[in-house]
Symmetry: C2
Subunit: 153 residues, 2 copies
């Protein structure tokens, strides 16, 4: 450890990137919460389920596509079930699935326009099409590596 220190340039690039990512996330969540009472996490789960066949998915599968730890997804589903946004349904011998309820779909439909407008305002419209492609391309490269990587603990 510690042999490979970061150069000033690398450290500056990391700090700027991290600070931007944190602030962007906070602002997007702020608008979502104020506009619809949903968190980023609620919104992500609603989008993933609403796009799945039958608007349903097993919890472990939902955790996998969201890149979350299973325990985090289980707690999230429980909270969303308690608020009536999701329901748990038994599915034969395959156990339980999370399903979006009508209330959940309505909440997503209600939240989406304001949320996407904020995404446009704070992110998309700040960049030229070339910058957006560059940023997304680099993000995809980092994401692919993160998904292939085992956490080093």
């Amino acid at each position: 450890m510690g042999q490979q220190r970061l150069t000033e340039r690398e450290l500056h690039a990391w700090r700027t990137s991290m600070q931007m990512m944190e602030l962007l996330r906070a602002r997007i969540e702020q608008q979502l919460q104020a506009g619809s009472g949903l968190s980023n996490a609620d919104y992500t789960v609603l989008v993933l389920l609403s796009e799945a066949p039958g608007r349903r998915m097993r919890a472990y599968e939902l955790a996998r596509v969201a890149d979350w730890e299973k325990s985090r997804m289980h707690h999230q589903i429980t909270r969303m079930c308690n608020r009536g946004l999701l329901a748990r349904e038994r599915c034969g011998s395959r156990g339980m699935e999370a399903v979006v309820t009508e209330k959940g779909l309505a909440a997503l439909k209600d939240a989406a326009p304001g949320h996407l407008q904020e995404v446009r305002r704070l992110f998309i419209d700040r960049l030229t099409p070339e910058e957006l492609d560059q940023f997304a391309g680099i993000a995809a490269k980092i994401l692919d590596n993160l998904q292939a990587d085992q956490p080093s603990l």
Copy 2:
């Protein structure tokens, strides 16, 4: 609201970027917690204070440079004081400042090598120098706008 829908390309760019930012943040925090018991938030506050003159700063100033809401920073400082990482010190008529303790400095010194190695492994070393500059440049552009912007609630 809703007049300016996102194109498929824009939505894909946003989702990829958001997913990367969330997973990167989670992995960086995972290593930090496992390696040193510090959260990303703890680490950020320790870095900012350790680099400030006298290793001390007023809470509102710390909130400003970190881009956090004041209430979040107050809670964070209280928790870190309770763990002995920070102390609150009165400073004349100017009220209270947060100061890093010896224990806080030791925790930062202990955490930094493993943390920066993980930053290198998951972020810096994944990119060419050109990509790192591109990414940081775009991040700075988004960050500047976020900092100039009033949250739209």
